[in-house]
Symmetry: C2
Subunit: 108 residues, 2 copies
C-alpha cells in the first residue's frame, strides 16, 4: 500500500525544519541527497547507530509527513527519495543550504 504524503501546498516550512532538526533524520536526508533514491533497508544500514525497524519506520514517517521525502513501494522494498522538486518550488535553495550545512558540520 502506498503511504500518504502531503500535497505540495500542504507542506509547511516549520514542519520541514522540525523533521530535519534531529541528527538521525538529518543524516537520512544527507544520504538521500548524495545517493538519490534508496531502499529503506539500504539507508538504515548506513546510519551511525543500529536502529530497530520500528524506530526507522518512525523516522521515515516524520520525514514523509513533513513533505521532505517520497516513500514508494517497489516489490518487497520501500524506496525513499527527497522531494527536491516540491521543496525547491516552495523554498528555492533551502534544501541545498541545509544539506550543505550538514555536510560542513559532519566534516568539521
Amino acid at each position: 500500500m502506498a503511504a500518504r504524503h502531503p500535497e505540495r501546498d500542504q507542506i509547511r516550512l516549520e514542519e520541514v525544519l522540525s523533521a530535519l532538526g534531529n541528527p538521525i533524520r538529518l543524516n537520512i536526508a544527507r544520504i538521500l541527497g548524495t545517493q538519490g533514491e534508496r531502499a529503506c533497508g539500504a539507508v538504515g544500514t548506513q546510519l551511525d547507530t543500529e536502529m530497530s525497524k520500528s524506530t526507522l519506520t518512525h523516522h521515515w514517517r516524520v520525514l514523509r509527513d513533513a513533505g521532505v521525502i517520497w516513500q514508494r513501494p517497489e516489490g518487497r522494498e520501500n524506496l525513499l527519495s527527497l522531494r527536491w522538486e516540491d521543496l525547491n518550488a516552495l523554498y528555492p535553495g533551502l534544501l541545498d543550504s541545509i544539506l550543505g550545512s550538514a555536510a560542513r558540520q559532519a566534516a568539521s
Copy 2:
C-alpha cells in the same frame, strides 16, 4: 543576570533547525531578522497570538539554547538578537535561506 549561551563551537545544526521548526519561534526569528535587536516585550506584542510571559520565556530559551539568538539584559528589559555572525561562520547562507523561505511562505 546574563543568560547562558552556547559557544559557537557548541552550536549544532539539528538544534538550530529544531528550534526554528516551530511557527512561533520561526516568526520570532523573522521579526529579529527584519528589525535587528529588540526587547522581548516588543517582540512578544508582534506575535499573532497573545502569549503568557512564561510561554514566551520558554521560546526565548529554546532559541537561546540552540544558539540562534543572543539574549542580554539592559535595564529592566532583555534584548534579543539573532546570532548572525556565529551562524554565518558555521553555516554560510543558512539563516538567510531559512528567513527567506519563511517570508515566502508568509506571503503565499
